[in-house]
Symmetry: C2
Subunit: 372 residues, 2 copies
């Protein structure tokens, strides 16, 4: 099976599995226990926090652990609204459903949607216009890279505008942490989230970054873990696995990203040769997030049939965000931007993919189109 | 190191570690992906749900996965209050901090605390009195077994009273699931929570039981996982590990519980011989949860010094709930019930402990007391 759905999740690296097994066997204690078996686990937990903070150029005290990025979004945004008496949220209509649905259920805030072009990008003047017109406390919620069409946020300029207009900035970095060199000490983001299983780490571990100096009420009440922010016994093995995964991602960032960019360029070139009337969605072909490409094949078949054909041919790719609970439906991002059923197909690469797999993927797609 | 703190957390069983490694390697896909790599993970997820449902004699549709019991408590109780327009909560002052702190932050409900005797038990007449006097929608929140002194809930009678007075019943079963033969089909509990790492399963996996027919709004918004109840990519390896752990707990229930009860009786007998003026807290000596005993040594030393002495001698036991983020403080349950610093020490057993370890533990305690 050729796995080109690395935006949905990534295979665990052997080093990450080894690290988790080490913790399973050597540091299985409860980090809240004051005896040495507990304190061994506590030391592993804090060591993982230090590693992650160091990779992201953050302070350890700015890193909180969650079970997923979705949790960080879903529990923290209402928290921010309450604590800061936020009256206006400025966001985009193609954010992850965790953001859109959470915001939709936040009473007492007015939601302002940015206008997007066909690439899913907004004009900075549109953001500035909204920031200047919203009176009262503001929160801007935008993803660093869109998970379906790869639109990249003009991060520096957005954060400067947020500073200028005294808006807080919450950034969904699920597709960029572990793929880009993120330095929180050099950016003006107030909150960010990431998820380990998107960068070859384990499921069940997420990062919530909160800029230092900001104290928030608990997201989950109880024993007071995560400096009172998120109670519940810490998932030390998964957190240690996440630290190992992000450490490797940082160490090999250049080689991994060059390899992935090469795979993507090669795929793009070859697929245009084989299927000249292919369409590229968003600006994933040129620019945008380097790990994915979103295409529409010249086919008039249902998504179910396309999925079946791909699966039978041995190619795993996505016809929408993976977070749809297995329900076959078209990408909401594609629907929003193009207003039509484009039979969009997202192919997303990891450094584990090979040129040979890309060759095979092109062949599979070519055969599906030409034998229609 | 002799580990007698199995109430805080338990060592992972090799079978559980093997199961997680199997999933790491063979079913690492995203269960929401519709291609076969995703569907393999989805099948493992649902297989785990079926196993757990079967062990607990519940329907699979009644089992929801969380990252911890604390999460199930912290996110579900406010949900229940909102959905059912709960006006009164009846609970006990020695519930887990996840319950007490969550309830404390629920606005719009009146909280009624049961009166407890020195064993942490309440009179059924007291519960009935409160149930009959509270007008409006009621929620009863009580733990099946107290995690510090082992008080057991008269479960059947409590659930009958709740039925009679039309109150919903939420039961914290963290210390009993995996230790007793729990059958949801034979009980009238509406909600229950459990945590895998308390029964030799992994951290990061919890169970939320919701009696069928009750639909609740999401605890976390997003991709719609867990039938819209709890979004976020499912932690399939930990969930599969939890299923393996609960399956083994069920299979070996009799032999494990007999062994643990033997360890506890032996400890009790021996410690009374060696330290005649020992005190037993709660009714953990006779009756109560069979996995733990709570004692006070005839010592006038600080908890810090006692902890150091125990640790140096090689005995891991708890001087309070483990959920206190490593802060050395006396058990809030002991404080509440006895209003004094009793230097309480909780020893909690698992089937992995041996009689030889109990012998050693008695020797260690004897030496600490006699060499004071």
């Amino acid at each position: 099976m050729i796995y080109l759905d690395n935006t949905a999740t990534t295979p665990l690296l052997p080093e990450v599995i080894d690290e988790m097994n080490r913790i399973f066997k050597q540091a299985w204690g409860n980090p809240s226990s004051i005896h040495s078996i507990g304190q061994i686990a506590k030391a592993e937990l804090e060591s993982a926090r230090n590693t992650i903070a160091s990779v992201l150029s953050a302070k350890s005290s700015e890193i909180y652990f969650t079970a997923s990025a979705t949790e960080g979004i879903g529990l923290m945004i209402p928290n921010i609204i309450k604590k800061n008496q936020i009256q206006h949220i400025i966001t985009s209509p193609i954010e992850h459903s965790a953001v859109l649905k959470t915001i939709q259920h936040c009473e007492s805030v007015e939601v302002h949607m940015l206008d997007l072009d066909k690439n899913g990008a907004f004009k900075l003047s549109n953001l500035e216009d909204k920031l200047s017109h919203c009176k009262g406390n503001k929160l801007v919620v935008l993803m660093h890279a869109n998970n379906e069409i790869g639109t990249l946020l003009p991060f520096k300029k957005v954060s400067e505008l947020c500073l200028q207009y005294e808006a807080l900035l919450f950034c969904d970095m699920v597709q960029t942490i572990g793929k880009y060199d993120i330095s929180f000490s050099k950016t003006n983001v107030d909150f960010a989230v990431a998820s380990a299983h998107k960068f070859h780490g384990p499921k069940g571990a997420g990062i919530l970054y909160i800029k230092s100096g900001r104290n928030y009420p608990p997201m989950i009440f109880g024993g007071g873990q995560e400096r009172e922010m998120r109670s519940g016994t810490e998932n030390v093995p998964a957190i240690a696995g996440m630290a190992k995964a992000i450490e490797l991602a940082k160490k090999d960032l250049t080689s991994r990203s060059q390899h992935i960019q090469h795979l993507k360029s090669y795929f793009t070139e070859r697929i245009k040769e084989e299927i000249p009337d292919i369409k590229f969605n968003g600006n994933s072909q040129n620019g945008g997030l380097y790990t994915l490409i979103n295409i529409s094949l010249p086919l008039k078949i249902s998504p179910e049939v396309l999925n079946m054909k791909l699966d039978m041919a041995g190619l795993s790719a996505s016809q929408g965000s993976a977070c749809s609970s297995g329900v076959m439906k078209n990408s909401s991002v594609i629907q929003y931007l193009y207003g039509e059923n484009r039979n969009a197909l997202r192919l997303s690469f990891s450094f584990l993919n090979t040129i040979h797999e890309i060759e095979q993927a092109v062949d599979i797609l070519k055969n599906i189109v030409h034998k229609k």
